[in-house]
């Protein structure tokens, strides 16, 4: 293991009233001109920082949804009934959302395996799994489009709806819309990277991290859905 320790002016830990050595080291590690994320691919560190910022964006939406829902004095529309579908003459609560959840989880599964096969340098399987992921993602967006048009047809608007608190529509369109936008963007990224995998681009560079980076983004989209599913649809 190589040591890339930067020589710092040594400060005696025994200095009376001084800052403990551990804290000095912490500050030094982050402040000194050296690599913090050692042995972490730069692209991976960057996508993680992007996802961290995205976490705050989605959190802002969900917290504002909490604020609106907790402050209304009229009943909140019951998601279980709003998102029910009538299949074969029977009304099944929340069924479309459940199917969407399974589709997205499955896409996360195929993506995780694509990353694995990428690092094994198995081009065809990697690309096939990525395209399967993209297909599942596109399926998810299509079902969301169906859900949107159904709700719009039933009279849901950002400023009102037939069943209760007017804020319901604003929360629904904002949160699921932003998430759907992320899924759509993810599908484009996946297809792009899959084509590059097929063409042997990453074999030339010898670096399959691009697959993992695309994967991290995709898993994050799935992760956000876990929270939306719990807080918006089930609560």
């Amino acid at each position: 293991m190589e040591h890339r320790e930067v020589t710092r002016p040594s400060v005696s830990a025994a200095e009376p009233g001084g800052v403990p050595q551990g804290l000095r080291d912490l500050a030094g590690d982050w402040a000194a001109d050296q690599e913090v994320f050692r042995h972490v691919h730069w692209g991976k560190a960057m996508i993680w920082i992007f996802l961290l910022s995205d976490t705050f964006i989605f959190s802002s939406f969900l917290v504002s949804y909490m604020t609106m829902r907790a402050s209304v004095t009229v009943p909140w529309p019951n998601p279980s009934e709003v998102f029910a579908l009538t299949i074969a003459g029977q009304s099944i609560p929340l069924i479309l959302i459940a199917i969407m959840t399974f589709v997205l989880i499955s896409s996360s599964g195929t993506m995780a395996m694509a990353v694995n096969f990428g690092y094994r340098r198995n081009r065809r399987v990697t690309a096939a799994l990525m395209l399967a992921t993209a297909l599942l993602g596109a399926t998810f967006v299509s079902m969301q489009a169906f859900e949107w048009s159904k709700l719009i047809h039933e009279g849901v608007r950002p400023w009102g709806n037939p069943w209760g608190a007017a804020q319901f529509g604003a929360c629904f369109f904002m949160i699921t819309g932003f998430h759907g936008l992320h899924v759509s963007g993810g599908v484009i990224i996946l297809v792009t990277v899959a084509i590059k995998v097929l063409r042997g681009h990453y074999d030339v560079s010898g670096d399959y991290s691009a697959v993992e980076i695309a994967g991290l983004y995709w898993h994050f989209v799935d992760l956000v859905w876990v929270f939306i599913f719990a807080f918006f649809y089930l609560w």
Partner: protein, 140 residues
Amino acid sequence: MNHATHVPTSDAALAGGHGAPEAHGTAAEPGHGAGHTPGQTHPIGVYLKVWAYLFVLSTLSYLVDYFHVAGVMRWVLILTFMVLKAGLIVAIFMHMAWERMALVYAILVPPLALGTLIFLMWIEADYTFWTRILFLGGGS
């Protein structure tokens, strides 16, 4: 290493090849997983198992709604399944369990600040609610 001249001709020749990507250097990091190279290669079975767990957890959280579980029990179940699912995705699918401490802490600690936001907005929502009830005729 000369990247440009190394053009692969078949997948089979590459399938066994497991070189660390150049960008990382070649040294395996001691104390980093079981000597994993940064390439994150784990048995496929791990992913299939997590996939199955996620399916089960999603089904369970759907059943909470299907059987109209209500009150505190509903919230406890929903949050439990949610946290378990999120944990599995982040730890296994996103490989956080095998990353270096510096990266794990840099990503997982900042979101804790959201607790403050949630707390403040909870107070604010409560205040708005009672203002509407007491002074705005129910707010409807």
